[in-house]
Symmetry: C2
Amino acid sequence: MKKIFLIALSFSSLLIFSQTDEDVIKTIYKQSLTNGKSYDWLNYLSNQIGSRLSGSLGAEKAVTYTKEELEKLGLDKVWLQPVMVPKWVRGAKEFAYIESAPGKTTTVNICALGGSVATPALGIKAQVVEVKNFEELEVLGKENIEGKIVFFNRPMQADLIHTFEAYGGCVNQRAQGAVQAAKYGAIAVIVRSMNLRLDDFPHTGNMNYGDLPVEKRIPSAAISTNDAELLSAMLTLNNNIKFYFKQNCKQLKDVESHNVIGEITGSEFPNEYMVVGGHLDSWDLGDGSHDDGAGVVQSMDVLRLLKESGIKPKRSIRVVLFMNEENGLRGGRKYAEVAKQKGENHVFALESDSGGFTPRGFSFDCTDAVFEQVLSWQSLFKPYLIHYFEKGGSGADVGPLKTESNVLAGLRPDSQRYFDHHHASNDTFDAINKRELELGAATMTALVYLFDKYGVNPITNSKKIKN
Amino acid sequence: MKKIFLIALSFSSLLIFSQTDEDVIKTIYKQSLTNGKSYDWLNYLSNQIGSRLSGSLGAEKAVTYTKEELEKLGLDKVWLQPVMVPKWVRGAKEFAYIESAPGKTTTVNICALGGSVATPALGIKAQVVEVKNFEELEVLGKENIEGKIVFFNRPMQADLIHTFEAYGGCVNQRAQGAVQAAKYGAIAVIVRSMNLRLDDFPHTGNMNYGDLPVEKRIPSAAISTNDAELLSAMLTLNNNIKFYFKQNCKQLKDVESHNVIGEITGSEFPNEYMVVGGHLDSWDLGDGSHDDGAGVVQSMDVLRLLKESGIKPKRSIRVVLFMNEENGLRGGRKYAEVAKQKGENHVFALESDSGGFTPRGFSFDCTDAVFEQVLSWQSLFKPYLIHYFEKGGSGADVGPLKTESNVLAGLRPDSQRYFDHHHASNDTFDAINKRELELGAATMTALVYLFDKYGVNPITNSKKIKN
């Protein structure tokens, strides 16, 4: 019986080794599209667990659930890596209105920014100063800002094709707006949501006070794009209107949480590690399906798809589900710290944290030689409409793993709809298309397969081949 | 005053001619993303007019509305082209159930297929024979089919990356299922919806009886994918279960409708025509936002974006909003017929009829020489993530314009979500993303700009340049 099994095993190994890369990649895509698990996993994560802000019950449930699911896959190892994370809670839902005259109010949609302090219990009401950037604050100066609410209203730039660029061009309003406005005596900050669409959803996201003393910290909230337009229009008519808001958020003590890790140990180079990952935490308004439930389940499916496709990796492939990307990056830092302590050689790390939309390709943080190698694989991806291979960023969680010689990469899905949902209450499972999610998982698996097979150091490899 | 105007005009012309293709295309995309009209037009078409089945009030309102909107653009000509179209009406909503035992029924979601006859007034109830294809019908033969309802249940193939291929592999069940099943004495046909997703929406679409005599025509309906799975599972448990359905559709007499046409007359080659178009009619269940409201408004915006970008075309550019693509193609045929009668030289025609999703590129029906020319433009499209340039089909409405030397093309948007909505009641405006729609309009405009500038006959052109 054992002998037959071994023969069967050798035969299946032979089968794989006699297959071309085209064949293997075709099998990977077929497996994902007809037998993928990512959509079912995400359904559970989004609809049974829901939002997963660091330190929340949802985050802890997600740790337990994904660990259990990884254990079912028959990987070589599955474990939890402890990490202390910040715990910020929103408290009761925020409330805000524009007061155009005493007693004449219009309710608007806001949400506290992550990390913000609360307003006083009765809320804050004050005049509003609208600005587009920090330079305008400086021009206005303390005499025009003190005692007022600063309203940052620079929209995302619509004519940028890469929406992440448009995000990058605006996000300092959210992240540093409070610190900058506090310099001039502002008593609160309202920030236009990072959203390319005009709608009613306020989008949260992290802000920080830097080294601002506790007593100088001012509350900071996001306002929906529709209401940002309304507020701006009302200010144009009458700059004496007042804005009222109340929020009830709180920073609690750090708590322990975990990165969730699974591994297929490499058959030839077990001490060379390749990571695929996404972040398990999410913001608290939606269920985090796109940010980053999608990346989590795709990364889990990479290891499963390798196994289901009969691929036995030479290197150790790890899935890492990072905790606390959104408001601290503690999980990503902890993983890299432990890897360094243990002297683990991380040759490759791929993150999926740009939504579960149709994959278009990857961006790479690597040497020119490796990038040449990547470009030589382009035709393998063409049947799957994967065409984007560019140098650029990878992912926040894998960033701390960067060395001079290793390869970091980020999955690049279609980004046009991403900021419609990002950090808002409509980042929910119904915005996920099963096929798009599965195509992403397959695309990641194909890249991992190629880097495992050909290595991440083309020169050394070709030497090896010559020897 | 006039002189100043002329000087300004010459200056703006100079400006365009001194611009590189890169600059012009950048302007086109910027115009579409910051100043596009396609989304507003589609909002009206979808939410104020709604569904536009040929011969319906909605179709006629759409003719009037789009003509008026084209007239506002200051084109050189706008007109209606009469065309007789079929008029099929659904009547009262369909009703269907599976009867597992007398009195034990489960309601299921169906809709009549376009062109189908009604059931008798009391409906049809009969046993069900499930098949995957026409060959199985032949094997089963009259003895197993006569007096029963044939249930075509071949799903779309999930591992095909191009979802239109998966559609092509299934649609004969819908189009010819009734004629094929009638041969063996079936009394009705139920067809699994052409949908890659499992959900509750039945998807309509055209079917035809060929030359089957009226008295032999059997009613034909689509069932949602969830209910197709249910019916199939119930048949596996008990193949004596019965299926009941009632539908109330009717084919009326042909009525007059119109293609809507607008033109910018060419400055150098006014007798060379370039067409951009989509079809104005839609199915009746949703509001036809993706099929093909998107193509209509994008095509309208092509002419507007050319003007707004300061491009004065050498050839005559026409937008044609075709009537009756869905159940007759009468508009496409009429347009080509009139063009032929008038001896109009149509050198190029581009259709957008694959949904309003992120554009990926084009397919071309053209000579190898022209295709070489197209490939030489690829780098111009790269900044906009437009990478798909392949030989293949164009669009149903422009098909009749094909000659040996002209160029037909089809916009190819991302197709993963298309069949979630196609011909179903969820083909609605909320499934449209403004940016994706605008990127499509810009991409079409850029292609029209290039073909107008460089012509569609590379050999003749290079000769011209030499002379």
